[in-house]
Assembly symmetry: C2
Homo-oligomer: 282 residues x 2
DNA sequence: GTTCCGCATGAATCGATAG
DNA sequence: ACTATCGATTCATGCGGAA
């Protein structure tokens, strides 16, 4: 493994991103401040101004991303006056107009979401993981995120009858001959576009809203070792930490000095002993 | 239980809906034909014309729905040229402009769908269950869909229940223990907005097969017995069948004669023996 | 060293109350 | 009338201390 660079940059992404060269990033994975959330830490962008605020940033992201790269955006609209706000839908449409391809919408199913029950709704247990690309020919290493068949097969495949197998072959869905019995012989299967991870909730000094599994999963899927990962809203530094551990170069940006310090601490902490081959640039 | 009416109507919803009186329906739950470029499938509406096609129908749905009623729309955009089509987002925005409140987006997680992959994506394992309302004061019977509590509670209950068990057992001889309902409540929790139902594989005659659990869940949540349920795209008749079984009046509409016949067969099949109190109106 | 249990808390949401 | 703040509601998870 070559040396890994892990840059943690302090500042406003709208400005800091301009220092990054064109077509250099393989994966952008980020969770920007949601509209009207985290007012105390970040500015607190209203839903009405969210698209306007985000587009200059995504313009820079488009510029720095390689044509084969991927942009993963974690976001979820809040309920407001008994109604879901539509600003995320407006954002998706605006990003498409900006030139992005809206390739996929993964669902992050939060198994341990915030509790609560109200007269008109249940707990919100999912968030959007929106995948955007510059071109249709992006890199995707699907084999890297295969999961043991165990959980899946025990529930479904074991009970497949002989007619099930035959019938599915004759059913010509979309031209893909899905011979189910082939899957029986394998140990690993591909996941779907629904991801189930628990949110991090520890009693320690600082909590990371982003569980490590989330950036880890997308880094595995869309990058190889020595590729470059970017998070323009780094927060407490989860993305940088995971990228470093996985042998990816990374750039993390945040506007809050205390978060930048926290992220730097996470990185350098591990540098002397475990990651002596890594180079920390700040 | 009073007599239940189950109407199966043949025709185009744009016309047939006009025969239904204002403010008479408690729940609309439907899975319209999804937009598709392939004309040979059911419906055959292109993504570009989908909103234009749907709005006259949703206008009628708005008219016939009670102010306390709910409209559940099951839909999912297909991938098209490597990209998710945005017509569903446009539809949500258009429905809001039409006066609907976009109350919630439930996720139907199709847990048992076959693993599969394409060069650029994984298996699509979820669909949108969009909830729209006319007002903020709609009926919602949340207790009807409670689910058993997670495993974590079993350990906790073990200790407390030692004395509780004895008390309950000793009380069982003397009528109903007053605490039984409370104890049951502790074993049941409210669900979230992510629903996990298996897909049905047994329906060869309808392209968009809807598992019974799906309309059943929403009928439980948003209606009581003798309420009125409407499905303007009935398909093979699942909604009518479930509504009848649950003691709800219902109206189902479909434009395909063979589906109407299929749906009628499902209903009348059960009428003589099990549902002799039901009245079939066609 | 395991296993078990207590406890804090997490990108929440609504209705009521206050300014 | 409209905005801002507060209290009540509620459950899965992981950590830390105890058995």
């Amino acid at each position: 493994m070559r040396d890994i660079t892990t840059k943690i940059l302090f500042g406003d992404s709208r400005e800091v991103l301009k220092k990054i060269d064109n077509n250099t990033i393989d994966l952008i994975v980020t969770s920007p401040p949601y509209a009207d959330r985290r007012k105390n830490t970040y500015g607190g962008i209203t839903p009405e101004k969210y698209v306007e605020w985000f587009l200059p940033i995504s313009e820079q992201l488009f510029r720095v991303l390689k044509p084969t790269g991927t942009f993963i955006l974690n976001i979820k609209e809040k309920a407001d006056n008994g109604e879901r706000n539509a600003y995320v839908l407006e954002l998706i449409l605006a990003l498409k107009r900006q030139g992005w391809l809206w390739t996929e919408e993964f669902i992050w199913h939060k198994k341990n979401c915030y509790p609560g029950k109200w007269p008109n709704r249940f707990r919100d247990a999912w968030e959007r993981m929106l995948q955007f690309n510059k071109t249709r020919d992006f890199n995707m290493y699907q084999g890297a995120v295969m999961v043991p068949i165990g959980d899946w097969a025990n529930g479904r495949l074991k009970n497949l009858s002989e007619t099930d197998k035959i019938r599915d072959n004759s059913k010509s869905g979309s031209g893909f001959g899905k011979n189910i019995s082939n899957w029986l012989k394998r140990n690993m299967v591909y996941p779907s576009n629904v991801l189930q991870f628990a949110t991090v909730c520890n009693n320690k000094n600082h909590s990371a809203a982003f569980p490590e599994e989330l950036p880890e999963w997308f880094i595995k899927l869309f990058t190889q070792e020595n590729d470059w990962v970017l998070d323009p809203f780094l927060g407490s530094g989860t993305t940088s930490e995971v990228a470093q551990r996985m042998g990816r170069n990374s750039i993390g940006i945040d506007i809050m000095p205390e978060y930048v310090e926290m992220a730097k601490a996470k990185i350098t902490q591990k540098e002397p002993s475990l990651f002596s081959h890594n180079k920390i640039a700040v």
